[in-house]
């Protein structure tokens, strides 16, 4: 199980929303963070989020049970360890 944590602030809500559109991905809240979990990879399309550069590259608060294999202008991809 991979978990991606994203702080719930206005700039980041689209990241959790886009991540949750994949039916293999579950989005919950833990305190003020989105907890985005999946058994397989978590992939977020950057353009679908509408995040500008600075928001996109600073939206990840934490990663558990996996690691980031892509974080560029196209996508954020977290894969199981």
């Amino acid at each position: 199980m991979t978990a991606l944590y994203v702080l719930d602030v206005p700039e980041n809500t689209s990241v959790a929303k886009v991540a949750g559109e994949d039916e293999t991905v579950t989005v919950n809240k833990i305190g003020p963070y989105f907890e985005i979990t999946a058994d397989g990879p978590i992939v977020v399309d950057r353009r679908a989020t509408g995040c500008r550069h600075a928001v996109w590259y600073s939206c990840v608060a934490g990663v558990a049970g996996g690691h980031i294999t892509q974080h560029d202008k196209n996508a954020l991809r977290v894969e199981p360890a």
Partner: protein, 207 residues
């Protein structure tokens, strides 16, 4: 650790050397409109080899001040083409590092940010970049001494959860840099642990 009472009241002054007092006064007083609020004319300063100098201050708002030292007869202290008059850098130093040290001056809103943009753009020190960061928008230029100066406004108020997040980041950072070979990936893994440990309890304490 006992809570330490937070008693300080912002920046009294931040001081920088200058070899171009005329340009410095034009930039800060005449272009930006920062009042001259204090100056000291000093004949030396203790040691025999200390030059005579003028120490002059501009108000940067909130009664905070930026100050300069002009030393009579002092030659530039380095000959690098990059950096500022205090610190010069060779071509081997990456640009992000050269730009990392700067002074950011706060303004209330976008109207005020754009007002300072107009003042700079009408001068010989036009704005070099205007950027929306995560939650702030900033303009940048370099003053006549090569010091990077930023004006910035908040795009929204800071939320309480951002303070929590900042503290979790710092605690994770201290853990990671206290162990061998710190990486960003290790920080995100440690921060995930701290979120699981503390975030729910923090939320409940906010009510």
């Amino acid at each position: 650790m006992a809570e330490l009472e937070h008693k300080v009241r912002g920046v009294d002054h931040a001081a920088f050397p200058t070899f171009d007092p005329a340009g410095t006064v034009r930039f800060y007083r005449d272009v930006l409109g920062f009042p001259v609020v204090h100056s000291i004319c000093a004949a030396g300063w203790g040691p025999e080899d200390h030059p005579d100098f003028i120490h002059f201050f501009f108000d940067i708002g909130n009664d905070d001040r930026i100050a300069f030292f002009y030393y009579f007869g002092l030659e530039p202290q380095h000959s690098h083409g990059r950096g500022d008059v205090y610190a010069g850098f060779g071509p081997e130093v990456p640009e992000f590092f050269v730009r990392s040290r700067h002074l950011a001056i706060h303004v209330d809103d976008q109207d005020d940010l754009l007002e300072y943009r107009r003042r700079l753009d009408d001068s010989q020190w036009p704005v070099e970049m205007q950027i929306q960061h995560e939650t702030i928008e900033s303009i940048y230029t370099h003053d006549p001494n090569g010091y990077m100066v930023e004006f910035t406004r908040a795009m929204r108020p800071v939320t309480p959860q951002e303070d929590l997040d900042a503290n979790l980041t710092i605690d994770a950072l201290l853990d990671v840099v206290g162990a061998p070979e710190p990486t960003f990936g290790k920080l995100l893994a440690r921060k995930a642990e701290l979120i699981v440990e503390r975030a729910a309890a923090w939320d409940e304490a906010q009510v």
